[in-house]
Symmetry: C2
Subunit: 337 residues, 2 copies
């Protein structure tokens, strides 16, 4: 049980979640004594169980070291439970790199999927935008980007019940120096596919809400995400500095407080916490390391929707249909996205 706060956040979050959702059973994986500290004394609540794991993966630990050296980490044990069919999904607030490496090693990728990706949802002016990959794959071929688009489409269809979500390929504006060869080739693959591909989008399009899914390689996606977080943090910093500059501005801040609170709710990162690792033979959702019970519940809810939609089968079927050269070419006609 990882994340920045460990059981002190995850255990209360699980209890909260159980009381809100009668359909789900939760297994808490980690050091049993540490987990019990945050549970009410006596018998375990209904639909809650504990799976002891003696080790933990540190937030800064190298993924390969975690994978090789910590066979009894809470992360490894939780993913094993998915692999064994005991659990339907693993939700973790732990080390992202280690989670992806372990999930990939234990669960394996889906047929016809070369690389799993990390997908996340960001606020936009008119709602939200899903972006993948956010850091699992540094260099991506056109085929990888195409597969991300397929997986993203299936995930958004499943999790949001949106038919035919739109897909944009992240690029830069200058006409002639537009993108690398991989991006141009991915553009051709997407344009020829039955996906709802709307063409190239730029960094700022993530936040307008005019596209449902933005596809990019993990390096670019990670930089876009981190830069965005940096700007938002800087604006918050300046806002605080301005409103606390002197007694008069403090007073203005007091008057504006309810409005500033609504603003904060609008861009509350917890609302969209939960980054699915897509392309694996099993459901794994990464929760933000520093989230609280509200955010964690959101991550569990995403995992539940993936399970209910049987996302893995959907992705397999769709990728097979679109990528497998041996599949019936006529079949593509019969499927509506």
């Amino acid at each position: 049980m990882g994340g920045d706060h460990g059981p002190s956040v995850v255990v209360p979050a699980a209890l909260n979640y159980l009381s809100d959702d009668p359909q789900v059973d939760l297994i808490l994986v980690g050091r049993e004594e540490a987990i019990r500290e945050h549970l009410p004394a006596g018998d375990l609540p209904d639909r809650l169980s504990i799976q002891h794991a003696s080790e933990e993966v540190g937030m800064d630990e190298l993924p390969s070291r975690a994978l090789r050296g910590k066979k009894d980490s809470s992360m490894r044990v939780a993913i094993n439970l998915v692999s064994e069919g005991v659990a339907d999904a693993c939700v973790s607030a732990g080390n992202t790199g280690a989670l992806m490496a372990t999930a990939r090693f234990v669960l394996k990728t889906l047929p016809h999927v070369d690389r799993p990706a990390i997908m996340s949802v960001l606020h936009s002016e008119s709602g939200r935008t899903w972006v993948l990959d956010l850091g699992a794959n540094v260099d991506c071929s056109a085929d990888h980007l195409f597969q991300f688009a397929v997986m993203g489409t299936e995930l958004v269809t499943a999790v949001e019940s949106v038919d035919n979500p739109s897909v944009g390929l992240l690029n830069i504006g200058q006409e002639e120096i537009k993108g690398s060869d991989q991006i141009k080739q991915a553009h051709r693959l997407l344009a020829a596919s039955p996906l709802n591909y709307i063409g190239y989008v730029e960094g700022d399009d993530i936040y307008t809400g005019d596209v449902d899914i933005v596809v990019c390689d993990g390096f670019v996606g990670n930089v876009a995400l981190k830069s965005s977080e940096g700007v938002a943090k800087m604006i918050r910093h300046f806002m605080k500095a301005e409103f606390t500059r002197n007694p008069l501005t403090r007073l203005a801040g007091l008057v504006a407080l309810p409005v500033l609170r609504s603003l904060r709710r609008r861009i509350d990162p917890r609302r969209y916490n939960g980054a699915p690792l897509v392309g694996l033979r099993g459901v794994v959702v990464k929760s933000h390391g520093g989230t609280d019970a509200v955010g964690f519940a959101n991550a569990i809810a995403i995992a539940k929707k993936e399970i209910q939609a049987d996302l893995a089968s959907r992705i397999t079927a769709r990728v097979e249909q679109l990528l497998d050269p041996d599949s019936d070419p006529g079949a593509a006609e019969q499927v509506s996205l």
Copy 2:
């Protein structure tokens, strides 16, 4: 004379600038009659002249088409003036891709510099951060990234009179999948150089102000910049929506107005308008297409500092010293950055 507003912004901006800075002569390049419309009737003001150019490059025009087809565009004529030694610098609010292509074709790159780059300065919590490249080069080798670091160091030293500005290489956080081979190799080159290299930085580090110069390829830099703009715009959008929601929130907005105005001033993009094209045999500064007189004056001021510091010679000397295998290796010791 390009940009979103053409002479209606650039001419008043030039007049303003001249009255503030007695050291600079300005040549307005564009359609003479269009320029004259925005000038006071009668003789031209002191230190102002007009160079007629019959064509204009459109903001969405393909760079190659502008370069081949518009030999008498204001952009081309302005850069020719620099090439002929008539002007010391060209400041343009026009099409970035065409400006770079034309400047590269007419002025050529500096010795030992493979590719010029676009550099810009962004707000940060504690001041500002310079970033390059912002879109001129999609795929960059380790050598290119290294040259960007050298050019960026010389520019910041010249324009800001900062000794030994710090340089960070943009990367993503996950340890083992960190960066591409080019980035790892650039990291080694930078670490072994006499530059003030502080190592890898992430997207959010651009906005903390802990580093003076962030180096990345043009694709990543452009996405980081555009994503950041997108987030800032979204926050402004939400802020406006919240403060205009009902009479009560409008009242709160009125009370908070002075504070919100100071906030806006803090993140005013005009303060940092002016993106130098570095690595060319001549000074070229790109002004934002939509800026006003204040922003345009800033771009001229950056050009002036580049001229005064003789940036091209500084970059040539520094790149030669650091990259040329034939140069005296002992010389590196004598130079303090």
